[in-house]
Amino acid sequence: MSEKTVDFSPAAAPLAEKLLEPALEILARYPVGRERSALLPLLHLVQTEEGHVSPNGVAFCAEILGINKAQVGAVATFYTMYKRRPTGEYLVSVCTNTLCNVMGGQEVYDQLSEHLGVGHDQTTADGKITLEHAECLAACDYAPVVTVNYDFTVDEATPQSAVELVESLRNGERPTPARGARICSLKEMQYQLAGFADPRDGAVGDGVAGAPTLRGVRLAQEHGIAVAGFDPDSPITKTKPVRDETALPQQPASEEKPGRVASVARKAAGAVKAAAGAVAEKVDERRHAGRTTDTGDVKDPEVRAAESRNPTADTPAPSGTATTPVPTTPAEADGVADNEPAGDGKPAGDSTRGESIVSQRTAEQKPATNVTRRTEEEK
């Protein structure tokens, strides 16, 4: 393990020790070279350990993806579900969006807030409960709703039923949710949000559909109503042969002539094994490399030019010199002469002062790459 974590900075190393394996599994879900897609699940993963996204968590995500911390921070602060402060064991969310609000959600929230003595996004002193008022939780037919760790726990909530809920949670009980799986801790939930199966036996089967969900279809069933004329064998008009070469993505599998059942079956079995092997290989490869692939900003320039100019962790520190644009008209030439272009995104015309500051700073600073190598040096 020490061999793999050696590349992580001191900030990220403790998390890397615990989370490297699942993190690499997450990375393997996305196409090669597109690993930045793993950032959202990785941030969820970080919260399984810390309960929130700390600067260390940001460092871990940045280093495993090969992007800089500002890029991770920009994403982490954008989304509501990444918490910036430590959270309690349970996150109790009350929907106070318009519909739940007028159906009583506001009273439920106010009562809980008063009862627990905390406001929005605050945690009780015993560290048990973080309270928040949530926006529409997509269960308006059960309004007002209260969730615990995002699982629907109390439907058609009242101030009394909500207080009973938090009291039993504080007493160490785990009441059965109305329509979600059995309650776990918020950190355990983050593991599922990172894209892993619920490890608890049978939890996936928990929760039955409530009456509102089934109202329409029950009504139809009671009155024997079905859509007439359904024939599952209705023909589909065929204008082209099925196994057209262009019909399928260019895969080695489609190169061979289909039709020989035995060979296809053998091939299928092989393919499944190969797929499993490929994932394992990919994970293994990265594990030994220590550092993972440098994904950088892979956005296509035609989609977003500004993003693709973003520096990565390996981008050298700015030198402060910019390439001078070639003027095409006399007026432009005059303008260029008067306003020297400034490097590093400072306003034009600010170059004299700006550049002196930049060069001063770069002289003081060690190159950024040294920071991540510190552990190695210390050894």
Binding site: R36, L40, N97, C136, A138, C140, T213, S234, T239
Partner: protein
């Protein structure tokens, strides 16, 4: 509670919701016994182009709000371009009032997966993603379980059902951002960026996920596909109207006796839906309602007989949206409700464009002032002006959505606003919520 009349009951079309009655339909064995994955076998036996034609013939339109013809969208994907293609399913259900996709994914996850495989085969994608809202944990749990089951049975992975077709499907949880329901913001989020909308063109069909051709479809759209493949385009068109074909899950919430999900052919009216839902709650009279979430202009009691299809609602001056019908009565205040929606839009504005970011900020404050009894007549002009400067000037449709409740309530319920300004209505907000409002 009044019983719905037989002719209204006949408008129910249990198709997508039918399997919800079987409590174990989320398991692959039960799903297979209920026609499950038979559409996939049928689809893999025809050329992808013929499948796209079938969907075009069915008249299926997107169930996420905009109602774009699905077959046409699939047809936009350039074929033989040498680039990878992607299917991305928008399961980021968050439009206030909308609650139809979550039950579908929780109680019948395989129907979405089967639809995803068929759609991917049709557009020749090798990878599909389901971007599910982060808060939808139980639905995601069931979906992930279902994906594992489908891999184990050979419906996903290499050489699906020995057809030579390969597909990988990943369930990707979001992290609580309403804006990610906008398709290009969703793609940015899926790429690991902040979820902010992209300039279009290029459209996702040309440069979507990883700058490759991508189809983004709603959960309800993709879940409809297996039924069309099985029952055929003509059967599908036997439901709904000529231009808005098929069944739709109408989500009724608010002041009705039995709120819930009612799947009916497109074109049913609110009057009929309220009848199915057992009528209005005792003591409540219909005052205003959203036809498809809070981003669609609100309608009033006089629109109760509007046909709820894409054309009918548009003719009434609104949008069908997600058919999330939040029903409010004479005991609800349109000004208060709009304020609450605006607090939501203000919170969820991604900050990319100025009209939405700043406009919502100011409108929220103006509403707080009006609701605390300190509003002026000029505030109404300010609201109208701000909303007009958001609508059509913001980067994506979500900015427009924020302006619509303001414009529509000002249009229909100006007197309710004046009530607060002229002191006829008691203030709804206290002084302390006014901090920063002036």
């Amino acid at each position: 509670m009044t019983q719905p009349r037989p002719e209204v009951l006949q408008k129910l079309t249990p198709v997508l919701t039918k399997r919800w009655l079987s409590p174990d339909a989320w398991q692959i064995g039960v799903y297979e016994r209920l026609d499950g994955y038979s559409a996939l076998r049928k689809a893999l036996d025809v050329h992808p182009d013929d499948l796209i034609q079938l969907i075009k013939d069915s008249g299926l339109r997107g169930r996420g709000g905009a109602g774009f013809p699905t077959g046409l969208k699939w047809g936009f994907i350039p074929q033989g371009d040498g680039k990878p293609h992607y299917l991305v399913i928008n399961a980021d259900e968050g439009e206030p009032g909308t609650c139809k996709d979550l039950p579908l994914m929780t109680y019948d996850p395989h129907s979405l997966i089967e639809g995803a495989i068929i759609a991917s085969y049709a557009i020749r994608a090798e990878r599909a993603f389901i971007y599910i809202r982060g808060e939808a944990v139980h639905a995601a749990r069931r979906l992930r379980h279902a994906v594992q089951e489908a891999y184990a049975k050979g419906y996903l992975g290499k050489n699906i059902l020995k057809s030579g077709y390969d597909l990988d499907l990943v369930v990707h949880s979001g992290a609580g951002a309403y804006i990610c329901g906008e398709e290009t913001a969703l793609l940015d989020s899926l790429e690991g960026f902040r979820g902010q909308p992209r300039l279009r063109p290029p459209f996702p069909a040309i440069a979507g996920l990883y700058a490759s051709p991508t189809v983004v479809n709603n959960v309800g759209t993709i879940a409809s596909v297996p039924y069309i493949v099985l029952g055929g385009a003509d059967w599908w068109k036997s439901m709904g109207t000529e231009k808005s074909a098929g069944p739709m899950i109408y989500s009724l919430s608010g002041r009705v006796v039995n709120p819930g999900q009612y799947e009916c052919g497109l074109g049913i009216t609110l009057r009929e839906l309220i009848e199915l839902a057992g009528g209005m709650k005792p003591g409540h009279n219909l005052k205003f309602w959203t036809p498809g979430g809070s981003s669609t202009p609100i309608l009033t009691a006089e629109h109760i007989d509007t046909p709820m299809d894409f054309e009918g609602v548009a003719a009434a001056g609104s949008i069908l949206g997600t058919t999330a019908m939040q029903i409010f009565s004479d005991q609800d205040c349109p000004v208060y409700n709009t304020w609450r929606w605006l607090e939501f839009y203000h919170h969820e504005s991604c900050g990319k464009c100025t009209p939405c970011r700043e406009g919502n900020y100011w409108m929220v404050r103006t509403y707080r002032r009006i609701l605390s009894g300190q509003g002026t007549y000029a505030d109404l002009d300010t609201l109208q002006d701000t909303a007009d400067n958001i609508f059509g000037r913001s980067f994506c449709g979500l900015g427009d959505g924020a302006a619509t409740p303001v414009v529509s309530t000002l249009k229909w319920f100006r007197d309710d606003y004046l009530g607060y300004i002229e002191g006829r209505t008691a203030p709804r907000l206290s002084e302390k919520s006014l901090v920063g409002a002036h």
